[in-house]
Every structure is written in structure tokens, then in C-alpha cells.
Symmetry: C2
Subunit: 333 residues, 2 copies
Amino acid sequence: MARFKAHTLVIALALACTGIAYGQSNEPVEPIPYPEAGDPAKIELGKKLFFDPRLSKSGFISCNSCHNLSTGGSDNLATSIGDRWQQGPINSPTVLNSSLNMAQFWDGRAGDLREQAGGPIANPMEMAFTHELAIELLASIPQYVDEFQRVYDKPEITIDEVTDAIAAFEEVLVTPDAPFDLWLKGDETALSDQALAGYQLFKTSGCVACHNGPNLGGRSFQKMGLIEPYQTSNPAEGRVAVTGIDADRFSFKVPTLRNVELTYPYFHDGAVDTLAEAVDIMGRLQLGRHYSDEENAQIVAFLKSLTGKQPEIVLPILPPSSDATPRPTPFED
Amino acid sequence: MARFKAHTLVIALALACTGIAYGQSNEPVEPIPYPEAGDPAKIELGKKLFFDPRLSKSGFISCNSCHNLSTGGSDNLATSIGDRWQQGPINSPTVLNSSLNMAQFWDGRAGDLREQAGGPIANPMEMAFTHELAIELLASIPQYVDEFQRVYDKPEITIDEVTDAIAAFEEVLVTPDAPFDLWLKGDETALSDQALAGYQLFKTSGCVACHNGPNLGGRSFQKMGLIEPYQTSNPAEGRVAVTGIDADRFSFKVPTLRNVELTYPYFHDGAVDTLAEAVDIMGRLQLGRHYSDEENAQIVAFLKSLTGKQPEIVLPILPPSSDATPRPTPFED
């Protein structure tokens, strides 16, 4: 966190010298804000939980397994691998900058990160544990009990504290200072001519209608396959699963484009490996537009300028299980 | 690495003040030495490779999956989970301080860490990749190509550079300054009376005959079940698989006791969850000795004093795949 503060200071000084005011541009995309300070003890506890595979039935899968902070907060798989190697139903969205989304999951079924964090732990396709077992496990580990007591000042751990701590950690997983953000803040050397042309095309051809705001997405649900239907073998139907409204069929939360260079493969089914192909498909299906090779390369160059500073994570050392801690059961029913 | 240097300095100063000379004790156990400096660029490259799940067929399993640096360099499972959730044949040994072992794997079939590192990548039960595919993959990622070129000054990556870099990283994964080491170095307050009594008993009752040296193990192969046979359903036969000599049946490399509080479950089959049970079994089977509850607790207290400073690892940010990078195939044959 100290790192972000140092950056803030440097930039504040730089802006003071150049006379450029932060965030005053009229662009439809805003820079990623620096994370708010937060409670360091809570964030540290949340980091431990995020990396702790004991929150899964197998003792093998942690939040970081599918939202790997070494690989853009995603797993770079079309769909994730869950308990007993089950194939997940949908592409794992990045955890980076996820606090900037209006809702969580592709269909928005969780309103915020706290609500989201409990989902995979108890999902039989993912971590395949239960909230009750997770609490029993944590309560058997003295160092966790002490840390929860320190942070929440309560005698008992409940799933609400667990998800609150995980969410507090996730809220600092933001990636400021992408080349594009530096450009937004007034550094005209931060973008190549090609990337800048790509940004102009991104705006004028309509991508920005959905991919806007600081996260270039995450603000609305939109139909996948607006002009032409999207061909997929993936059975996910999106937002309709939450609302029951037929018009929401194949409507998905618009994904962020932040760090999109790192979060391949693309789309809710993870069927597309490269940015060039993703741009081509989105142009045709959503905008009725065939980008030329040159235009495609420009937009891809712009998208690659959205890779921000990745959070610097010191790997947590997890508190050891006690003799009373239930053991994982990776190979049992 | 700077952290270790700082510690070295502090201890050197402390020793200068107290007049106690480092390493002059006549104990059969020596302190963990600080890691040698090494080539920072090679270590950083090795760290990336250690954490890179793309070295597995599935894109899901990295070295860190089974040698998790958040959990004592082990996976805390009886036997590991490999490609397609295959159950591994043997308990995953800790990577921490593994450079201090005379050989690698339970049966010592790899002479050193370089030889070891190539094994799991190509083992169909583990990462299920091939060395050829691993090289093809790395060669398709421009940032890796640059890093290998910088470190090895060669135009082509081969598996030898891959394992050399991984081993260079593993060589700095040592855990100095356990309470017991501080005691060895002259700090008489570092151990409780109970732990000290445990250490005396550890020596007088014969544990130290095999668990000696800086790693308290890793120096010899010994038969598991010397006085009484060890009951297990695990079919591993140990050293005989390497030597073909019948006398080596059920002979295994003596595991390190460093950080043993973190590396449960115990023994080559991972069948034992607690230190109390492990001490009881080893006393009976290897020494013909039944420790009383008090003696058992003393030895366990000593064993817990062997938990050293865990390496502080900043999670690497992995270079993204390029459009030419082969994609993982977790669900295909």
C-alpha cells in the first residue's frame, strides 16, 4: 500500500508542476483511481484467506487458483478447473479492479464483492466446500482466531467476516498508471500514434458506448450478439438467470477492458484466444462493422495500453493447521 | 534477498557484542546457513518459472501448486493432486531448504535440484507436459525470450536453462533464524525449557542419528520400519527403485525436520496428521521406544522450534502469452 501512496505523491507533485489537473478530461474513460487506504490488518487477513486452499474441500483450490494475481487476476483458461477437475461453466473474470464493477459475476447475481466472495467457496463445481465447514476450519486455527478477533473484535468468526476480509483485500487490487491513464492525465508521450488512433476509433465506432468509465466496462448488461448472433456451444444465458426476463437472454455484464492483454482468453465462454480476433468479432457482432487489418491493429494497440501497474503482493505465510483442524478430502465423496 | 543480508549484519553485530562465535557449537545439528548471493536476474527468472502454470498441460498446475510457499513449501495433502486430478503416489516433500539435501525425491533418484526440476513437468501424473512443449511455449513469449537471453546469453532456450533457473530460485528458499538456530548461536532465551528438554531427548534417544546436520535430515537413506514394520497401503518401495538392491526396499531419504510444524501430513505416504502421532510412531518403529506423553510433548515443542523465517516472496507477474503461444488443454486427451 505504501507503494501506491508514494506514487500518488509523485504524481501530485508532477501535476502541481505542470499545472495539469487530475481527472478533468472530457473523455468517456477515466483513470483508475488509487485504492483507498483501508484497514491494513483486515486487508492482510483477507489476503491470507484469498490464498488459503483450505477454504476448498480438496485443500488444493484457493481464490487465487482461478483469479491468479500472477496472471492478470484470471486463470487464462477458457473455463476454470474446479473440485475434482470439473470444468466450470464460464470464463473466470479478473479480480483486478473488480470493485469498480456495478455487480459481480457475468450475470451480475452478486451485488458486490462481499456477496461474491462466498459463492465459489460453497459452489460444488468450484471449491466444493460449505460456509459451515469453512468457519469450523478457521476456528480451529489459533492464529486465524486471533486475527479475526483483532480485526472484528467479536468472539466468533462467521462467513460475513470471512467475505468482508476477502473483499477488503480485493478492493486494493487495482491497477493504476496504465500508459493510457498517464495519457489521460496529460502525458502526451505515454501513447503511441497507433494506440491513439485506436482510441479514437474505439470512440467513434461505438465500442465506448458499453466499455466506458474507469474500468472500461462493468457498468451495464448488454446482449452478446446484437447485430449478429454469437455462435457458442456454451449454454450460459446470462442475465435472464437472475431477472427471469426473456429480453435478458444472452445479456452479460460488460467485462472490463483493463489489463485485457493479460486476461485472455476472451468472452464469457473463453472461446477466443487473441485480442485481434476478439476485436474483429465484437466489431461485427455488436457494431455491424468490419475493421480493416490496420484498424484492428490500432484498437489492439490501444487495448494493450490499458495494462496498468499490477499490485505488488507479498505471498502470505498461512497459519498452520492445529491438531484439531479438519483435514482436506480431495479424493473422497 | 536484501532482507537476509540485513539479518546477517544484525547477527554479526550481536555476536561481536556478546563474544559468541557463530557455528562453534559441538551440536550434531547446525544452523541453516544464509543463502549465497546468486544472480538476481536468474533467481527472478526462476521464480517466474516456478509460479508459471503454463509449464503444465492444463495451464493450471505450477511448481508452487505442490510446493506452495504459503504453506511451508508443501501442499499439506497426503499425496498431491496432478493433471486431471490424478492422485500422486507419494507425499510432496518441502522445497524449503531442499538445496541442503544430498539428493532429491524420497528415493533420491535426482542428484540435485536441477535434475529434480525437470521431473514433475514431464510426469504424466503431475504437470503432464513434455520438455519439448515447455520450450516451445517459453520460446513463444517475447518477455521470456529476452530474460533467458539476458541471463544465459544464448540464442535458444533449452530445458537445461529452465531447470537451472528454477533451481537457482529454489536455492534461496532457505529458512534461517528458527528459534532453535538462535539458541544454537548462543541466545539462551530462544528455547523454552520444554523444547530444550525435547532436544536433549531427541539426541539421547537416537532421533539425531538420522536427523542431523543443518537440515536435520536429507543426508542418508534409512529403512522406514526398522524395529517394527510400517503399516501402509502406499505401494512405494523407496530406494530399491533406484538401486535395484533388495536391501534398499522401504528405504527412503530421511526427510528434513525444518519447518515440520508447517509440512504436515507426515511420512512418505502422508498418512499421519499430527506431530504427536509422528513422534510416537517414529519412536516405536525406528527406535523401539515408547515416549511418555510428557516426553512426546517435549519433542514436539523442540520440533516446533525448527520453524524458521519463511522466504519473503513477492508474487511474480508472469509475461503474457503471445498470439503464437500454444494454449493449455486441461480437458483434452
